[in-house]
């Protein structure tokens, strides 16, 4: 009897460990992720602006995406890596598949998980065509030899394997807002939930850093400590679709205050989008459930 209990316990431990290993194993994109699509660098410039890559990976005094900007959080400080076209320090030596796998699955060429400070959980919803276009655009940007700086993250968050559990719990490429009643709202949903990754800052997070999607875009604590990131849900914001589109183009609020903080760089990006795309973002936001 006693022996039986121990055996059962042993089997249980092995099973849990097995599930744990399976769950924490990095899940890559299928090898066919970019099959049949040809990247176009000019279109990729629009994807690049909508996805805001330069806002985090940009560096002072260079056009290259040399990285280095610090992002404080309750889990530690993350430093944007060099994703310039430099062959050794940047992504110049990566294949298109390796880039797509990083952007949409959060898995590095070495098969390690990235921290979700990199918003791959949003980019997971990116189309294959946009991914290919974005990669083609990234390859047109200059190289910089500055090495990436290591993240300053303490135990247990410094165990990258544990991020597999985080992804299992919180990452999903399903749409947050399931209904898209018009093509315009559907386009807006893609721009907000996939490329623009607006929810990463404007949605509150739980103790483990997972987004509370039941409070989608309803404002959040500032991970760097000071102030709050405002709600952009229509119940709280109270702006018309036209107000939102004007703000994303000009930076002016309806009462002629102007954009501030990190959002300044976001508006620099949204100002580069087509009018239809700004209108689509606005249509999605005012239609939020």
């Amino acid at each position: 009897m006693r022996k039986g209990v121990w055996l059962l316990a042993g089997v249980g431990v092995v099973a849990v460990a097995g599930v744990g290993l399976a769950v924490t194993q990095p899940q890559s994109l299928p090898a066919s992720a970019l099959a049949g699509v040809e990247g176009d660098a000019a279109r990729g410039a629009q994807v690049y602006a909508a996805a805001g890559c330069g806002s985090c990976h940009g560096a002072e005094d260079t056009e290259a995406l040399a990285g280095g900007a610090a992002f404080a959080s309750p889990f530690g400080t993350f430093y944007a890596p060099n994703i310039s076209t430099h062959a050794d320090q940047g992504i110049g030596g990566w294949s298109d598949y390796e880039l797509a796998n990083a952007i949409r699955a959060g898995v590095s060429p070495e098969g390690q998980h990235y921290y979700p400070a990199f918003p791959y959980t949003s980019y997971a919803r990116m189309t294959a065509q946009d991914t290919a276009d974005l990669i083609a655009h990234l390859r047109t940007l200059p190289a910089d030899a500055t090495p990436s700086r290591g993240h300053d993250v303490g135990f247990p968050f410094n165990i990258r394997r544990s991020l597999g559990g985080w992804k299992f719990l919180f990452a999903s490429d399903d749409w947050v807002v399931t209904d898209a009643p018009s093509p315009e709202v559907e386009r807006g949903r893609y721009l907000v939930e996939a490329l623009g990754h607006c929810g990463e800052c404007h949605t509150p997070r739980n103790a483990l850093g997972g987004l509370k999607t039941d409070q989608w875009l309803r404002g959040a604590a500032n991970p760097a400590g000071d102030g709050r990131i405002p709600s952009i849900h229509p119940d709280d914001l109270g702006w018309s679709a036209q107000d939102i589109a004007i703000y994303l183009e000009s930076g002016f609020t309806p009462d002629f205050d102007t954009v501030g903080g990190e959002m300044v760089e976001v508006v620099e990006n949204t100002a580069k989008l087509a009018d239809e795309d700004r209108n689509a973002i606005a249509a999605y936001l005012v239609a939020l459930p």
């Binding site: 000071d226 102030g227 000009s250 930076g251 002629f256 102007t258 954009v259 501030g260 903080g261």
Partner: protein, 155 residues
Amino acid sequence: MKSLPLLAGLATLALGTLVHADAHSNLPPAVKARQAHMQLYAHNLGVLGGMAQEKIDYDAAAASAAAANLAALAQLDQSSYWPEGTDNGAIEGTRALPAIWTDFDGVMTASEGLIEASAAMSDVAGDGLDALKGAMRPLGQACSACHQDYRQRDN
């Protein structure tokens, strides 16, 4: 008998006014002054922006007047608006970040940017709607240059 609810209503109103006045009067005069200064920017920007966004008809005289006000406001000496100990960590009711006091050169660069952008607007605001629209974006960017680094996020 009828006067009782009325009295209660008046008392509530009076209390509300008192509470409101109290919250406002707790701010140091210098903070009130700089917030009023920002309001004057916003009011004059509203005239120009309303035209740029084609919400109100373009009027060369009104545009020129608003732009001249902005340019004059941007040039006013604001040094007395920003006494030590009036950042958002020290007092309630302001979003002025401590960086204003630790990065004086950066603040002055941003302030010179606004002087330039508002002067450029003043030069062209009376020259037609397209000219006004063209000067609007640099003006907004000049405002944001300060709001990016020196103002707390929304609360």
